[in-house]
């Protein structure tokens, strides 16, 4: 029986149609298929790794985009000898960490701090959390309290090593560790009000003119400042340019200011007319003492267009800083005092010269400028 079985197996083997080449071919085909699968799986793995990297970085980008840090008025406060606070609100959806603060002096006034001319900073003042730059010559500048939780309001970032309340205009950039920038200008810029509406609360109407006297409309600049500040409290002994905002409420004619228009200021505590300080209007481009040019009513006049049926066409800011009619030089209030102020407007209205005087305005000068909030010592 055993021999018969062996013979059957041999016959089956010898008569089999599939040869060794078929087996090799099959193996070869299987190997190729496996290699293909391997390649596909490898591709999936690579693509998955790539996607996971993309996903991770996208998450970082989303966190970065959800940062919303808002510095608010006055921008810098609580000044001490060499430090101040920056008040901010975190209105975003994630914690914000400040990585660096750049402070750039964009309108140097009485000093070159945080400019290229400053031997300490040789450019913008750089304030790191670890303090890497002696930015103002008072030791390394650094900040603390730079992590602001989501939803936190009135958070104070404490900056040490310099102060920025010297009258210059500073651009402050808060740079977050995720690469977002939040910036503001100090002193905090004023915002014009009423948009030329002559019926505002702090408006004097004389003749065709409306003269604005709210604390955001009667301003001054010093040095090369391009952003004005309220002139109801001014530094004493500093050359300045005064800004007054006007609107023409007459509907039948425009108004052209003449070079006789001037301002006269008398200190309360001084006697005699010799104590008066007088200044005349200067050209419409004289926004600060560094850019004063004389006023010429023929070549570059202040023209206030006639009002329309809905009110004045808009307001015009008039600059005072001439040391005489058609002069320049700025205005300097040396005394620390209150100043009784008159403004005489002389203009052409309906083709005829006409004049009005605005009396009894009061401003104050101080040696300790800028003063603490709400005071003018």
């Amino acid at each position: 029986m055993g021999g018969i079985n062996q013979m059957r197996i041999y016959r089956r083997f010898v008569r089999a149609k599939k040869g060794i080449s078929t087996i090799f071919g099959g193996l070869f085909f299987i190997i190729l298929i496996l290699m293909g699968f391997n390649l596909v799986i490898w591709g999936f793995i690579q693509y998955d790794n790539y996607n996971s990297t993309l996903f991770k970085m996208n998450q970082n980008d989303q966190l970065s985009a959800s940062e919303n840090l808002v510095p608010f008025n006055p921008g810098a406060q609580n000044f001490t000898s060499y430090s101040f606070n920056i008040p901010v609100n975190n209105l975003g959806g994630t914690t914000v960490s400040i990585g660096r603060i750049y402070i750039t002096n964009v309108s140097p006034t009485g000093g070159t701090r945080c400019t290229n001319s400053d031997p300490n900073s040789q450019g913008p003042c750089i304030v790191d959390s670890s303090g890497t730059q002696n930015c103002a010559g008072n030791g390394n500048c650094y900040f603390t309290n730079g992590n602001i939780a989501a939803g936190e309001i009135n958070h104070l970032i404490h900056v040490t090593g310099l102060r920025i309340d010297d009258g210059s205009g500073y651009k402050v950039i808060l740079s977050s560790t995720r690469g977002r920038l939040f910036s503001f200008f100090y002193p905090w810029p004023v915002t014009p009000t009423n948009n030329g509406n002559g019926q505002g609360t702090f408006v004097t109407n004389i003749g065709p003119l409306s003269i604005y006297f709210d604390f955001k409309s009667f301003n001054f600049t010093q040095g090369f400042q391009t952003q004005s500040q309220s002139a109801f409290c001014m530094p004493s002994g500093i050359t300045s340019v005064l800004w007054v905002k006007l609107a023409n409420t007459a509907t039948d004619s425009g108004v052209t200011l003449l070079g006789n228009t001037m301002m006269e200021l008398q200190p309360y505590s001084a006697n005699g007319f010799g104590q008066f300080v007088r200044t005349w209007i200067v050209s419409p481009t004289s926004i600060n003492p560094g850019s004063i040019t004389a006023y010429n009513s023929n070549n570059a006049p202040y023209n206030l267009p006639a009002a329309g049926p809905n009110g004045p066409a808009g307001f015009t800011i008039v600059y005072f800083g001439g040391n005489g009619q058609g002069g320049t030089g700025g205005v300097n209030l040396n005394n620390v005092d209150n100043w009784l102020t008159f403004i005489g407007f002389y203009y052409v209205y309906r083709g005829q010269p006409q004049g009005e005087t605005i009396p009894f305005m009061d401003i104050r000068t101080t040696a300790g400028y800028p003063p603490p909030a709400g005071t003018c010592p």
């Binding site: 021999g3 062996q6 013979m7 080449s21 071919g25 070869f28 190997i31 190729l32 290699m35 293909g36 390649l39 490898w42 591709g43 690579q46 693509y47 790794n49 790539y50 990297t53 993309l54 991770k56 970085m57 970082n60 970065s64 990585g99 660096r100 750049y102 750039t104 400019t115 290229n116 450019g123 913008p124 950039i173 740079s175 560790t177 995720r178 690469g179 920038l181």
Partner: protein, 162 residues
Amino acid sequence: MSLVKWAQNRIEKNRKSRRAISTIMANLMMLVIVVTLSSLLFVWAISSFGAYQGGAGYWFSSRSIANQERPSVENAYFTGSCGTCNNIVKVYVRNVGTIPFTIASVYMNSTLFQFQQTVNVGNVTTTPLTLTLTGQTWAHNDIQKITVATTRGTTVTTTWVA
């Protein structure tokens, strides 16, 4: 014994086979052709798959790494070598990504300035990237476009008012 007989008969049959030498040669030829073609196919498949893996692998890995770069231009300071020269721009770049990168070039309004400065994660350029303009100056209140490029090809473009 029966198995031995059966084997002898079989051998005798085979010896008397009518198949000629040409059939054998044909089989051999086919065998050679098949083996050769399959070998070529195998080699081609191996090399193609390898080339694909090499190219795709390099692309995925390099893109994955480059994608982790995040340069952030924090500040651009416009100054000059003299009072009114207006010919120098200092650029501060922070690494807010997850890997270090090397700054290769900075473009200011399409003008190339070459650098070689590595910035580690979370850090800012140790010295500002100083662009010294020749034959041109920046103008106050003009918009300046500054593009920073890394050696891996990541670019970030920002605009600043001088």
